[in-house]
Subunit: 276 residues, 2 copies
C-alpha cells in the first residue's frame, strides 16, 4: 500500500493524476490543504510519496513548488502529464443566472480567463483547490456560487455542470512530479530505468557561462527539454537555472553532470526518473 | 504631453512606475481595466505609450503579458524596475479584528502568501488591481474588507494602514516594459542609445540547438540576462524561448542577431532599449 500526499481533495487534478500514475497499485491518498503540508507529511514520514504539479502549458512553471522542492531535500522519482479541462458547476437547484461568485484554485481561474471575462457579473474568489470548491458548495448547499473543477469532481460531489470545457485553450496539460525521500528513491524507480533528470544551478555573471554549460551538455548528447532562468530571491537580477535533460545512457549522463559541476555554482540534482 | 496606458488605477504600481520612468515630463495616464485594454488603446491610437509589468523577482514572468506583446506587434522602447512593498489597509473605522475579506491583484496576493496564511480567517478575493481594491473600499465605504496595495495608494484613498511591508520577501522587484507602436520607437529612444534587446524564437527539436544559438551569442560577446523556455500553446512540450541580451556595440548586436536567425524559427525582436 503506497500512501500519496497531494494538495487538494478527492477529485482534484492531483488525485486524478495519482490514480493514473499508480494505476493497478493499491494507493491511499493523504489530502493536504497546501503544498507546504505535502512536504511536511513527507518529512514526518519518509515512506510517504508526494505528487505535486510543477508546470502547465498555459500558466508556466509553478515557481513556488520548485522552491519547496529545493528546500525540502526530497527527490523526483517520476513524472506524469495530465490533460486539464474545467467545467463550471453548481447545485442542481441553480442556473447560470443565479451565479454571483465563482470559486476555484488561482491557476484554474487563470486558465478560464476568457470565459470569466465574458461573465463580468461573477465575482472571482480564490480557493485552495478546484475539487475542494465543488465539495464546499455541495456540503454546505451554497446557492449563488459555482466552482471551476474537473467534470469528474462535479459528478463526485453531485453538482450540475453548467458548462464544460471552459478552459481558454484546449491544449492544456499539467506536468506533475512524483517525489520521495532520497533513501526510498531506488525502490520507486530503479536508477537503470531512468532517462530524465532535473537539475538546478546558478552561474557566475560571466559572459557566455550558460552557453558553455549547455555546450558541454550537448557534447555529451544530453537533450534539453526545459530551461528557465529564475531570479535568486534576495539577490536581485541574479539568476538560477532550472534545466531538464533526457538521456539514453546513464553513464554518459553522469559524466555530463560531472563535466558541468566545475562551471556552475550550487548544482543540485532534483531527481532522476523515467520521462512520462 | 505623453499619454501612457496602464493596467490599474491611480496609485497602482504601474502608475508609480510610469511617473518614475517619465520623471520631469508631462504625462497623462490612461487607466485600463485589463492588459488587453492597454494594447487595445495603443492599437487604436499609435501615439499612446504602454507600460506593463513583465517579470517579478518572486512571481516570475507574466506569461500572459509576453503573449499579448507578441500578438500586438508593439515594440519595447524602455524598461524600469520598481521595488514592490505592500500594506494591508481598510477604512479608518475598522480594525484588524473586523477584517473578513482581503481584496487585491492575484500577484500581490501571492507575494503576501505568508502573511495571509497567518490570517486564515480572511477570505482571499481577486481584484483587477491593487490600488483599485483600495479605491473600491474607500468609495463604497466597505466595512469588513481590507485591500493589499502600496502604502501610497492607501494614503491616496484615505485608508488606514493596518500593517505595512507585509510582502513575504523584502527583495521584491517588478520589471516593467515601456511599449510603443514601432513607427514611434525612434522618437522615444534613439536606437544609438540602446544597449538591451528582448528576443523570442523557437527551435527545432534537435540536440544542442539551444546551445548552438547561445554559443553564437556568446562569441559575439552578447551578455544574456534572461532565458525562459515556454511551452508553445497548441504544440505540447515544444518550446519557445524568451531571451534578453545586453550589448555595448549596436553593430555587433545586429550581426549577432543575423548570425542566429538561420538556426532559429520565427525569431522576433520584441524591442531594443536602454537597460534600467
Amino acid at each position: 500500500m503506497k500512501r500519496i500526499a497531494i494538495q487538494g481533495f478527492e477529485g482534484s487534478f492531483h488525485d486524478i493524476t495519482a490514480h493514473h500514475y499508480f494505476q493497478g497499485e493499491q494507493i491511499q491518498m493523504i489530502c493536504c490543504a497546501t503544498f507546504e503540508e505535502v512536504f511536511e507529511q513527507m518529512k514526518n514520514d519518509p515512506t510517504v510519496i508526494g505528487l505535486t504539479a510543477i508546470e502547465n502549458t498555459i500558466a508556466g512553471s509553478l515557481l513556488h513548488n520548485y522552491e519547496l522542492l529545493l528546500q525540502s531535500g526530497m527527490t523526483v522519482v517520476g513524472e506524469d502529464k495530465t490533460h486539464i479541462s474545467h467545467c463550471l458547476c453548481c447545485l442542481p437547484s441553480q442556473s447560470i443566472k443565479d451565479i454571483k461568485e465563482v470559486h476555484s484554485h488561482p491557476v484554474a481561474l487563470m486558465q478560464c480567463r476568457k470565459y470569466l471575462s465574458q461573465h463580468q457579473n461573477m465575482k472571482i474568489i480564490e480557493a485552495d483547490d478546484t475539487a475542494g470548491a465543488a465539495q464546499w458548495i455541495a456540503e454546505n448547499q451554497v446557492t449563488g456560487v459555482a466552482a471551476i473543477c474537473h467534470a469528474d469532481a462535479a459528478k463526485l460531489y453531485g453538482l450540475t455542470i453548467l458548462e464544460n470545457n471552459i478552459e481558454d485553450n484546449k491544449h492544456n496539460y499539467t506536468r506533475f512530479l512524483v517525489l520521495s525521500d532520497p533513501r526510498k528513491a531506488d525502490m520507486l524507480r530503479p536508477i537503470n530505468e531512468t532517462n530524465k533528470s532535473s537539475l538546478v544551478f546558478s552561474l557566475p555573471h560571466e559572459e557566455g557561462s550558460l552557453s558553455q554549460v549547455l555546450s558541454i551538455l550537448s557534447f555529451y548528447t544530453m537533450q534539453l527539454t526545459k530551461i528557465q532562468s529564475l531570479p535568486i530571491i534576495g539577490r536581485e537580477w541574479e539568476y538560477m537555472f532550472y534545466v531538464d535533460i533526457t538521456y539514453d545512457n546513464l553513464v554518459r549522463y553522469r559524466q555530463a553532470v560531472d563535466a558541468i559541476i566545475p562551471l556552475t555554482r550550487e548544482l543540485k540534482i532534483l531527481g532522476e526518473y523515467k520521462a512520462a
